[in-house]
């Protein structure tokens, strides 16, 4: 009888210890193996600029719409999955709508009919997204750099020229809100690049004429080369 009582007490003690160990292991595993998924969810301001009297077509391809950054876990960081496409479409709409008097959204870049009501077509794209964690840079900051390309096309969809530009953003690392820090750094980088783009386009109100002239020159030189 006594033996039975002792063994059931020991069993209960071992069971309790086992549960505690299991809970501790689960917590450790969760902390070590976690990854962070993030959707950039921010609104962007309407730029304070004068509208340019140009009929512009804008084309967002699926690569931009679905763009996501993925990074495997390493010694300095957990794994990351950051959805950027939808936020960029929102950003470009907000930028270009007030910048051009007539903006047309296009479903395709090339068209059989050249009679599109646009002078030039723009196609923004993300070339590269880079995330540096405080562990990478030995600072207190998360840093983001986004490299973009803005490609210009003729109304029929022929490539004319591309502008490469980039934006940088930083945000101080906050304990228990890593995703918020990365979100802030990303939005700062998007705004930084957007500021450059808006000012560059505003500074060149006749940029479409120069693009058209360049297209004509390219066509002439191609004809000369053929003949």
């Amino acid at each position: 009888m006594i033996m039975t009582r002792t063994s059931s007490r020991e069993t209960a003690r071992f069971r309790g210890t086992g549960l505690r160990c299991l809970a501790l292991c689960t917590l450790t595993f969760t902390l070590c193996a976690c990854s962070t998924s993030l959707r950039v969810d921010s609104s962007f301001p309407r730029p304070l600029v004068t509208s340019l009297p140009i009929d512009v077509g804008i084309y967002y391809d699926e690569t931009l719409r679905q763009y996501a950054f993925e990074k495997e876990a390493d010694a300095n960081s957990v794994a990351w999955n950051i959805e950027l496409g939808a936020a960029h479409v929102r950003l470009f709409n907000q930028l270009f709508q007030p910048l051009f008097e007539n903006l047309t959204h296009l479903d395709a870049l090339s068209s059989d009919s050249a009679a599109r009501p646009v002078t030039v077509i723009m196609r923004p794209s993300i070339d590269e997204y880079t995330l540096s964690t405080p562990g990478d840079t030995a600072t207190d900051f998360y840093a983001v750099e986004i490299r973009y390309k803005l490609s210009f096309y003729s109304p029929s969809g022929d490539f004319i020229q591309g502008w490469a530009y980039s934006g940088r953003g930083r945000s101080r690392s906050e304990l228990f809100s890593t995703d918020e820090s990365v979100q802030k750094a990303t939005v700062a980088a998007m705004r930084d690049a957007a500021a450059w783009l808006v000012i560059e386009l505003s500074k060149q109100p006749d940029f479409h004429r120069r693009l058209q002239a360049q297209q004509s020159d390219d066509a002439n030189s191609l004809q000369d080369h053929d003949s």
């Binding site: 304070l48 600029v49 940088r168 101080r172 700062a188 705004r191």
Partner: protein, 235 residues
């Protein structure tokens, strides 16, 4: 101007503290102080006629700001409580309403760049519309400058605890440059720096005794801004 203030936070542990530990804490309570220094440079007095507002902007570089967001929040909160003759305009609203002209790479760095900025289409009109007359550019941060000690913690099935002693020095240095947007010039600058030593002794439970240097610097900058814009300002 030098100020010394002892402000220590001790979290509730819910555990009994031994007499020796209590004595150690009391000694450290006396020692964990913050020393702050406030400097003011006034070029011209602020013109506070009419309904005008001031916006506190954190100076940004390389796409981000060094000044902590909680420092900006502390400064805004402190000024909101004071009797100022100007309204406080929200920072993010200002930057958004004037996008892209106050972003990291486009914001004016000196008052000399203001005339060019104000001549851009719509900028002066937008600033008049929202009624912002002054900008206070805030720059600076709090940094850990030195530290030492050690602490080890252990957790087991029967419980856990820490033993050791950790300390560090913090220096908080901030400045605010005030610009008059209407007259496109600088009207003055204030700065505050505070330093202090923080301790964390641990006998089972770590007891953080934090020198609140950032808070002291925030109060210092806010007090000086009140002298610029308050009812009892020294002209």
């Amino acid at each position: 101007m030098m100020r010394t203030a002892c402000k220590i936070t001790i979290p509730e542990t819910g555990r009994p503290v031994s007499r020796q530990a209590l004595a150690l804490i009391l000694v450290l309570l006396l020692a964990a102080c913050t020393t702050s220094r406030i400097d003011v440079a006034r070029h011209v007095s602020a013109d506070l006629s009419g309904d005008s507002a001031i916006v506190l902007l954190a100076r940004k570089k390389d796409g981000g700001q060094n000044t902590e967001e909680d420092f900006m929040a502390c400064l805004n909160k402190a000024l909101a409580k004071m009797q100022l003759q100007v309204r406080i305009y929200p920072e993010q609203d200002f930057v958004d309403k004037l996008f892209p002209w106050f972003e990291s790479r486009t914001a004016p760095e000196t008052p000399g760049e203001l005339p060019a900025l104000l001549s851009r289409p719509g900028v002066r009109e937008r600033i008049s519309e929202i009624g912002v007359r002054y900008i206070a550019w805030v720059d600076g941060s709090s940094e850990k400058v030195d530290g030492g000690g050690g602490m080890s913690c252990a957790v087991g099935p029967g419980g856990g605890g820490c033993f050791g002693f950790v300390w560090w020095d913090t220096a908080s240095v901030y400045e605010a440059s005030i610009w008059d947007l209407q007259k496109a010039r600088s009207v003055g600058a204030v700065s505050a720096d505070a330093s202090g030593m923080s301790y964390v002794p641990a006998l089972l439970v770590p007891v953080p005794l934090i020198a609140r240097t950032q808070h002291a610097a925030c109060k210092g900058v806010a007090e000086q801004l009140r002298e610029f814009f308050g009812e009892d300002r020294a002209l």
